[in-house]
C-alpha cells in the first residue's frame, strides 16, 4: 500500500495540541467515571432501580451509530493518506463523502439523545432527583457537547476537503479532527455500558 508520510512525525497522528486536549478530556471523564463507581457502591439499589428508567435500546443504537461514524472517519483519513500527487483531487472528494456520512451519523446521534432527554425531563427528572440521575445527566450532557464540538470540527475538515485542501505533504488537519472524533467515540463506548448496562 503506498504510504506518503507527512513532513511531521507520523505518531501521534495530527497536531500535538489535540493530544493534550484528548488527555485532559480522558482525565476529566475518568474522574467522573470513578466518581460514579464510588457513588454507586454506596447506593447500589438506588442506582439499579434508576437505571431501569433508561432506554437501553436507544443507547445501544447510539453506540452503533458512533462506532460506524468512526469507521467512516477512518475511511476518510485512509483516502487522504493513500493519495498520490496525481490523485489529490479525487482523494479529497472521496474523503469529503465519508466525512459527510460520518457527520450525518453524528447528527443522528444528537437527535436520538435529544429525544431521550425529552423523555427523561418529561418524567420530571433533573440533576437533583438522585445521585444516579445527576451522574447520568452530567455525563451524557457533557458528552453531548463533545459530539457537537466534534461535528463543528468535522464540518471544518469537510469544507477543506471540498476545497481540495489536503495534499500529500499536509494532511495533519484531518488526522487531528479524526483523533478528536475517536475520543468522542471512545468516551461513549465506556459511558454506555457503565451507565446503561452494568448492574
Amino acid at each position: 500500500m503506498p504510504r506518503h508520510l507527512s513532513i511531521k512525525a507520523p505518531y501521534p497522528p495530527g497536531d500535538f495540541a489535540i493530544w493534550i486536549i484528548i488527555y485532559v478530556e480522558l482525565l476529566t471523564f475518568s474522574l467522573l467515571f470513578i466518581g460514579y463507581a464510588f457513588s454507586r457502591r454506596a447506593e447500589v439499589e438506588l442506582f439499579n432501580a434508576s437505571q431501569l428508567v433508561l432506554n437501553q435500546t436507544s443507547g445501544f443504537i447510539n453506540t452503533l451509530i458512533l462506532i460506524t461514524s468512526s469507521y467512516f472517519i477512518v475511511k476518510a483519513v485512509q483516502s487522504i493518506k493513500n493519495m498520490t500527487k496525481q490523485t489529490t483531487q479525487s482523494a479529497n472528494s472521496v474523503a469529503s463523502k465519508w466525512l459527510l456520512s460520518a457527520m450525518f451519523l453524528g447528527f443522528l446521534f444528537l437527535l436520538m439523545k435529544v429525544s431521550e432527554f425529552t423523555q427523561i425531563f418529561g418524567m420530571g427528572i433533573n440533576l437533583s432527583t438522585n445521585t444516579f440521575f445527576m451522574f447520568y445527566l452530567l455525563l451524557t450532557m457533557f458528552h453531548f457537547m463533545h459530539v457537537m464540538l466534534g461535528l463543528i470540527i468535522l464540518g471544518n475538515i469537510y469544507q477543506k476537503t471540498k476545497r481540495v485542501g489536503y495534499t500529500t505533504d499536509d494532511y495533519s488537519g484531518i488526522e487531528t479532527g479524526a483523533s478528536y472524533w475517536h475520543l468522542v467515540d471512545l468516551l461513549w463506548i465506556v459511558l454506555f455500558p457503565l451507565i446503561y448496562i452494568i448492574r
Partner: protein, 457 residues
Amino acid sequence: MKYTSQMVAKPYFIFALILLAGEILFGLLMAVQYLFGDFLFPLIPFNVLRMVHTNLLIVLILFGFMGASYYLVPEEAERELWSPKLAIITFWVFAVTGVATILGYLFVPYAELTELTFNNLLPTMGREFLEQPLPTKLGIVLVVVSYIVNVTMTVILGRKTVITTVLFTGLFFMAAFFLVAFYVPENLVLDKFLWWFTIHLWVEATWELILGAILAFVLIKVTGVDREHIDKWLYLIIAMTMISGILGTGHHFFYMGAPEYWLWIGSIASAVEPLPFFLMILFAFTMSKNRKIKHDNEMALTWAKGTAVVSFLGAGVLGFIHTLAPVNMFTHGTQLTAAHGHLSFYGAYIMIIFTIISYAMPIMRGRPHGNCAKAQALELKSFWMMNIGMVGLTLSLATAGVMQILDQRVGTELLGFMESQTTIAGVYTVRAGFGVLVFLGLLTYFASFFVKEEQIA
C-alpha cells in the same frame, strides 16, 4: 516603540505600581493587627483595612490591564490608538474615583458612606470585594466601557490578531459580569450565588484571558518565536482555562444552600483547573528554549516565566488542595483560603503586570533594548525578594490555616476563634516578616527605575 499613542500606558503603569505599594502597606498593617489586635484601633479597624487592601488590589490590576492593553493593542493592530485623549480622560476619572473611594473607606464610617452615596436608591454595598459605593461602581462601568470602546475601535480599524481577539473577549465578558454586581436579590443564597459570577468569573475566567494575551504578546516580542506557534498555545490554554474555570465556579457553591450536584461539578472542574496553568509553564519555558532572538531585556522574560510558575503554584496547586468538596468542608474560610488568594493573585496578576511593565517601561523611556545591566541586576534582586517573600508569606498562611483547622474543626475538643488565633501568633509573626520582605522587594524594584544608564553615552 512603534506608535506614539502607546505612551498613554505610562501613567497607568506608574499608578498601578503606586497602588501596589499602598496595597502591600495596608496588608502589613493588617499583619500587625493579627498580632496586636488593638493596633490602630479605633482609627482604622481591621475590616476597613481589609476592604482597602482588597479593593486596592482590584483597582491596581485594572490599571495594569488597561496600561498593558493601551501599550500592546496599537502594536498588534498596527495603528495608533483610536483615541489617546479618551484613554487619558479615562485614567483621570478612574484615578480620582479610586482615590476618593479609598479615602471614603478610611475616613467615613461605612454605614455613613452608604447613606452619603445613595445606596438606598439601588442597594449594592456591603458585600465582600464589591463594597464600592454606587457612584464608584457606575464610575467603574464608565471607565471599563470607555476602555473597551477604545480597544475595540483600534482593533476594528487595524490588524486583527489572536492576541487582540483573546484580549477583547476577556474585556467584554469582564464588563458583562460586573453588571451582576448591581443586582442584589433578597434571597441570601441567590445573592451569594450570583456574587460569584462577578468575583470568580473575573478572576478565574475573564482575567485569565487578559493574562494570556499579555503573556503571549511579551513572549512574541522577547523570544522572536513565530506568532503562529504562540497563537496555538494561547488558544489551547485559554480554551482549557475557560471550560475548567467556568465549571470551576461550582467550587464556591459548596454547602451554601445551592443544589448538591455542585459538589461534584465544582470538585471535578477544580481538579482540572491546575492543568492550563501547567500548560502555561510549558508554554513560557518552551518559547524561551526555542527563542530566535536574544532580547537584551532579560528581565521581561524572567517575569514572564515567573508568572507562569508562580500562578501554577498559587492558583493551580494551592487552589486544588482545598477545592475538593470533602476537603473544603474543613478548610473553607480559613487562612488556607488566604494563602491561596495571596499567591494566586500575586503569581497570575501582579507578576503579569510586572512582566509588561518590565518590557514596556524601558521602551517608553527611550531604552528599546531594555534597562542597563546594572538596573536589570537590581530588578532581578527585587524579583527574588518579592517571590521568596510571597512564597514564605503563603506558606506561613497555609501553616496558619492548617493549625486553625486542627484547632477549630477536627476532633471534639475544639478551641474558640480567638484562642486558636493566639496559638497561631508565632506563625503570624513569620508571615509579617515575609510581608516586609515583599515590600522591600517592591522598593528595590522601584529603585531599579532610577539606576543611571551608564552604558549608553
